[in-house]
């Protein structure tokens, strides 16, 4: 372990000599080449450059930020580290990164859904057959009882997005917040251009309905 520090410093020096430029000046593709050769400094640069994008997508898809979203976002970057050797510079790096993110997020959401199903089975009263979940307060009701604050609108948008089906939510996020083209979204989700546009249309219609209370044009 004691040898790790000097060894790493030597490696960084060797890389700097080899490439002659600092990591922050490098493109994503060049950083990935460095990551493939085990350069942790390049990896740090890559994380810092894309962490908000990855964490934001994870948080939006999983219904909010927090330790779980953070863990999944870390998993995504660790997958990037492991797959750096197989990365080919065809198209934008962001498209590839978001494809990795999508796979990781959907895998985790699948696991969470299965776990939730088991939990739901556990909370049924064996004597009466009544579900304890039914007696829990509806989060929407809780929301209504809360005092209206400046964050109310933000929360309403978040809730409306969270209620969208997973694919629609992802398409809306990638288009609205990441500013990706429909073609890129198609590559990430593995869908045709028409399918992506149809999903986007349906998602917008649903959002319009859910947020109609905040839209003046609907009044």
């Amino acid at each position: 372990m004691a040898k790790d520090g000097p060894t790493r410093a030597l490696q960084e020096l060797k890389n700097a000599e080899l490439f002659g430029v600092m990591p922050e000046e490098l493109s994503d593709g060049e950083l990935m080449s460095r990551v493939a050769s085990g350069d942790e400094e390049a990896f740090r640069q890559l994380i810092e450059r894309h962490q908000d994008r990855v964490y934001g997508t994870t948080a939006r898809m999983m219904g909010g930020g927090g330790p779980e979203a953070e863990e999944v976002a870390q998993d995504i970057f660790l997958r990037v580290w492991r797959s750096a050797g197989t990365y080919r510079q065809e198209g934008r790096f962001v498209t590839w990164l978001m494809t990795v993110a999508r796979n990781q997020i959907f895998t985790r959401m699948g696991q969470r859904k299965r776990r939730k199903d088991i939990d739901r089975e556990d909370v049924v009263d064996p004597e009466t057959g009544e579900s304890f979940m039914e007696n829990q307060a509806d989060p929407k009701m809780r929301m209504a009882s809360e005092a209206l604050s400046g964050k109310e609108l933000e929360r309403a948008v978040e809730e409306a997005c969270a209620e969208l089906p997973e694919n629609q939510r992802l398409v809306v996020h990638l288009r609205q917040y990441e500013g990706l083209e429909f073609e890129e979204i198609g590559k990430i989700t593995g869908m045709s251009l028409t399918a992506v546009k149809a999903l986007m249309f349906r998602a917008r219609e649903t959002l319009k309905k859910k947020l109609s209370g905040y839209l003046t044009a609907s009044k």
Binding site: E40, G56, W81, L153, C161, Y177, K208, L211, L215
Partner: protein, 110 residues
């Protein structure tokens, strides 16, 4: 209802919806995110290294065990030289059978 008015209303709603969504941006990564991710990477690398070194530590045991299993298999399947039967033994046995048969026939009065 006037068709053009409905279409305009739809456009207005679309614009407004974009505005609403823009007011609720997704959360940003915490400040410690990169450092924590790198720490996790180093931890995983260390665990991998430990697994490999554990294998290397016990490599003589694994090698000896494998050699013992192979040797046992070879010995078990080796042909046993003691059960080899010579031609002379076969003929002697046949002669004894013929002799026995003849004796039986004599005693039977045949």
């Amino acid at each position: 209802m006037d068709k053009s008015r409905t279409s305009d209303q739809g456009k207005d709603q679309g614009m407004e919806l974009e505005g609403l969504l823009a007011q609720a941006p997704p959360p940003q990564a915490p400040a410690w995110f990169a450092a924590k991710t790198l720490a996790r990477l180093r931890q995983e690398k260390e665990e991998d290294r430990k697994t490999v070194s554990a294998w290397m530590k016990w490599r003589w045991v694994w090698a000896a065990g494998t050699a013992a299993v192979v040797a046992g298999w070879v010995l078990w399947n080796r042909p046993d030289p003691s059960v080899e039967i010579s031609d002379a033994m076969v003929f002697a046995a046949l002669d004894a059978l013929v002799e026995q048969e003849e004796e039986n026939r004599w005693w039977a009065g045949l």
